[in-house]
C-alpha cells in the first residue's frame, strides 16, 4: 500500500498522502516523519459530524471531500472501508493528482478486497 502512495509523492503540489480507516486509524502514509495521525483523527471527526444529516438529505455515498484553506488543501476519497487522503499545497493545479488518485483508488479497492478475503 505504501508503494501505491509513493506514486502520489512525485505529483507536483502533493505534500503527503495516507490511507486511513474511516474511524481515523492510519494504515499507511508518506512521507515518513509527518504527523499523519492528527490528520486522520480530524478527518474522521469531520466524517462523523456529517454522517447523519448527509444520510437524511440522500447525500450518500461520499465520493470525494475537499477542504481548501489558504496554506493547503486536503482531499479525501473513500475506498471501500478505507479512505485515501491527499495533502496538497494551495497553489498547484491538482488535475494530475486527481488522475493519480482515481487510478490509486481502483488499485486500493482491489487490494483492500484481497486483504479482507485473505
Amino acid at each position: 500500500m505504501k508503494e501505491i502512495l509513493q506514486r502520489l509523492e512525485g505529483v507536483p503540489g502533493v505534500l503527503g498522502a495516507l490511507v486511513m480507516t474511516l474511524d481515523g486509524v492510519v494504515v499507511a502514509s508518506v512521507p515518513p516523519g509527518v504527523d499523519h495521525e492528527r490528520s486522520a483523527a480530524f478527518l474522521s471527526a469531520v466524517l462523523l459530524s456529517i454522517e447523519k444529516s448527509a444520510e437524511q438529505l440522500g447525500l450518500v455515498p461520499l465520493q470525494r471531500l475537499t477542504l481548501a484553506a489558504t496554506r493547503g488543501r486536503l482531499l479525501l476519497v473513500p475506498v471501500g472501508e478505507l479512505a485515501l487522503v491527499v495533502l496538497a499545497d494551495s497553489t498547484s493545479d491538482l488535475g494530475q493528482a486527481l488522475n493519480e488518485v482515481a487510478g490509486l483508488t481502483r488499485r486500493l479497492l482491489r487490494q483492500s478486497k484481497i486483504d479482507v478475503s485473505s
Binding site: S53, L57, P61, Q63, L67
Partner: protein, 387 residues
Amino acid sequence: MGFLARSRDRLLLPRRLARWRDAPSTATLNDAVQTLLRLGDVERAWTIARQGIAKWKDDDFVREIYRIAGRAHAEHGLAAAQAEIQSRPTAAAFLKIARFSVLLRDVAAAFAALEECLRRFPASAAAHAALAELHEQRWLRDLAAADGRIVLAHLRKAWRLDGAEPTRPLRLAAFLARVGALRAALNVAEEVLHLHESQPDALSLRDSLARMVAAGVEAGSTPAEGEEDVESLLRQIEESGRVVGDPGDAARVARESERLRAFLPALRERTGCEKALVVEPKGHALDERGALGAGPLPALAASLARSAQFTVRRLDLGPLQSVTMVTTGGSLLLQRAQRCVVGVLLDQPEEIERGRTGLEELVAGRLPATPLVAARPAAARGAKDLR
C-alpha cells in the same frame, strides 16, 4: 462615443447642471452624473454623486449612481497614480494606488503596491500603517494569528518611524484591546499621552481602557501586574475562531450575513441550484427570506463548516476557504465569506464547476443583489459555535 453625441452632451451639460442645482432630484442627479461621465469629467461627476448620496443615502438608484461614479473616480485616480509613478515614483503615489485598488476591490493589487512602496521607501510610516490596515481587514475575516502579528509589527514600526503622529499608536492600542491585551493597550495609550498630553482620543481611550483593566483585574481575566501574552491571545482567537468580548462582533456578522443573503437569488439563477443558504459563525442558517430553522441541510452545512474549519486550523493549513462534498446523491459546496459560510446544494456533478464559480463571484460581490424580504422571522441564533 461619437462626435455628435459628445457635442450634444457638451451643449446639454450646462442645462443639466443647472437643473441639478435648482431642482435636485434623483432624475436630475442621474442626468448630471451620466453626462459628466460620458464627457470624461470624472472628478466633477464624483463630487455630484457624493452630494446625491448625502441627500438620498437609502435610495437604491442613487446608490447605483454613486457606485458607478465611485468606480470611475477610482479607475481615473489609479491611472493618474500609475502615471505619476512612471514619471516620479514617490511613497504617496504608491499609497494612492493602494487606496484606489481597495476602492476597486482589488486587495491583492493594494498589497502589492504597498509592499513595493516599502521596498523602495522602507521609512514610509504611512505605508506601514496602510499595510497594517489591510492586514487588519484580513485578520478580521480569517482571525489568523499570523495576520494579527503582522498588524502589530507594522503599527509599531509606523509609530517608531513617525512618533509625532498619534493616530497610529492609538490604532495599535485599539488593536491590542480588541485581541484582549488590555493592559498592553493601556500602556500604549499612556505612552501616547506622554508625548501628546491633551490629545482627546488618547485621553478617552486611556480612560476607557483603565476602567476595563480595573474590571478585568477584579474579575480575574486581566493580570494584576505585567502585560498580557499577546501571541497566546492571538493563537486563542485563531483556534476559537472568534474575538471573545468584542462588542462589535455580533453586529459585524449580522451585516455580513445580510449582505450575502441579498446575493442568494442571483446565485440560484447562476448555478441552477434550488437550495442556497448562509451559515453564520454560530451555526445559524438563513436564506434571503429569513431563518431556516432546524433541518438536515442547515445541520449538514453548519457541521461541515464547523468541523472543516477546526480541521484546517489544527493542521496549520490556515483559515478555511472552501469545502466540496461530492456524493452520488448530489454535492454540497461551501465557500467562506468573511465570518460566514455560503452553501449551495447541487444535484448533478457537472454543476459543481458552475456552482464553485458562482460562489466565488458571490463572495467577491460580483453578483447582483436583491433587496431582502423578511418572509420568515429571524429565529433565535443557534447555540453551537461554528469554530
